[in-house]
Amino acid sequence: MNFSGVTALVAESDTHSVNLLGEILRRFGLDRQIPVDSGSDAKAYLERAVVEMCFFEASLRDMEGAELVRWVRRSAPEPVRFVPIIVLTSYSQFDAVVAARDAGANFVVCKPISPQILYDRLTWSAQGTRRFIEADNYVGPDRRFRQLGPPDGLGRRSTDLSQEVGEQSTPNMSQDEIDALMRPTKLVNV
């Protein structure tokens, strides 16, 4: 992967997190980083410049990361409003995960940031296979993932081919039905 031409906006209010994330990205080869420490600075930058990737802290000093994501998805100029957004949460901000997802973030990554996870999320964001949804109550990447079966070559049987799972044809079992299925029963010989 060649990160050298990628520009990323990093909105983080904690200096040490900025340094760590910045160092990881730099070592990936992503040198063009725009660090800002508030949501309002992030908005101001995104209104006048184009970036290919955004990293937002879940709780910035002047607004929640989810609010900033929502602004990008609904109000930022194109093509910025389609950029992949990764929201970074710390331990005490765990509640922000759902809010960030519902606001239209591509991924939420919990700190401490692992280079492996970050690299994989970045490359996944770049695949470009995820559709974008625009609806009254949600604007952002499609949150539904398709079940494609075992990946090619990884199945143990010759019939384990990668294939799309079809639409659900019967209703899901109720909890009572599942309980009845799992309940131990005594077998009686007749």
Partner: protein, 166 residues
């Protein structure tokens, strides 16, 4: 999105990242990750200093208010410092410090529900953080587990307290 739009639409958005990343050159996944891990390691001493400062800040905030109470703002600042400790301790694999930091964050969450918020449990956590700080000589696993269990008891006590009516 235009105001008043009723129908949901789905489309493949423009993705400049894909074109940029797939240009020739760059690093393989293994090379990039190895380089990033080396980069993290190069920040170890700076990060450990930051951990020490965060532990000191929690200790000062809590001790200043021993036998007194902490305001919600003070507790939120404690949580921010604890968050930093967790992030850095997790990054550099300081397990006991990480666990004590998490315990403090959980405690703050419980304390924010009660008013007035007592300072003593935060003081105890600050002492534990100090004990596990990177500048201190490492303590035995058995002792560390004992300390963490005691922190757990404090947390359980405040978890069980009913929220104060606003």
């Amino acid at each position: 999105m235009k105001a008043g739009t009723k129908k949901a639409s789905s489309f493949l958005p423009p993705n400049a990242l894909k074109a940029l990343l797939s240009r020739p050159g760059g690093k393989t996944r293994d090379e990039a990750i190895a380089a990033a891990l080396a980069g993290i390691e190069s920040l170890r001493s700076v990060s450990m200093e930051a951990v020490e400062r965060a532990v000191d800040a929690i200790e000062v905030a809590a001790r200043r208010n021993t036998h007194e109470t902490l305001s919600a703002d003070q507790l939120e600042q404690v949580a921010r410092d604890a968050d930093l400790i967790i992030t850095l301790a997790g990054t550099y694999g300081i397990a006991n410090l990480d666990a004590a930091g998490r315990s403090l964050c959980d405690l703050v969450r419980s304390l924010l529900k009660v008013a007035p918020c007592p300072a003593e449990p935060v003081v105890v956590h600050a002492r534990a953080l100090k004990l596990f700080a990177p500048s201190k000589p490492p303590i035995g696993n058995e002792q560390a587990q004992m300390v963490l269990q005691e922190l757990g008891k404090i947390r359980t006590h405040f978890d069980a307290m009913p929220p104060t009516a606003a």
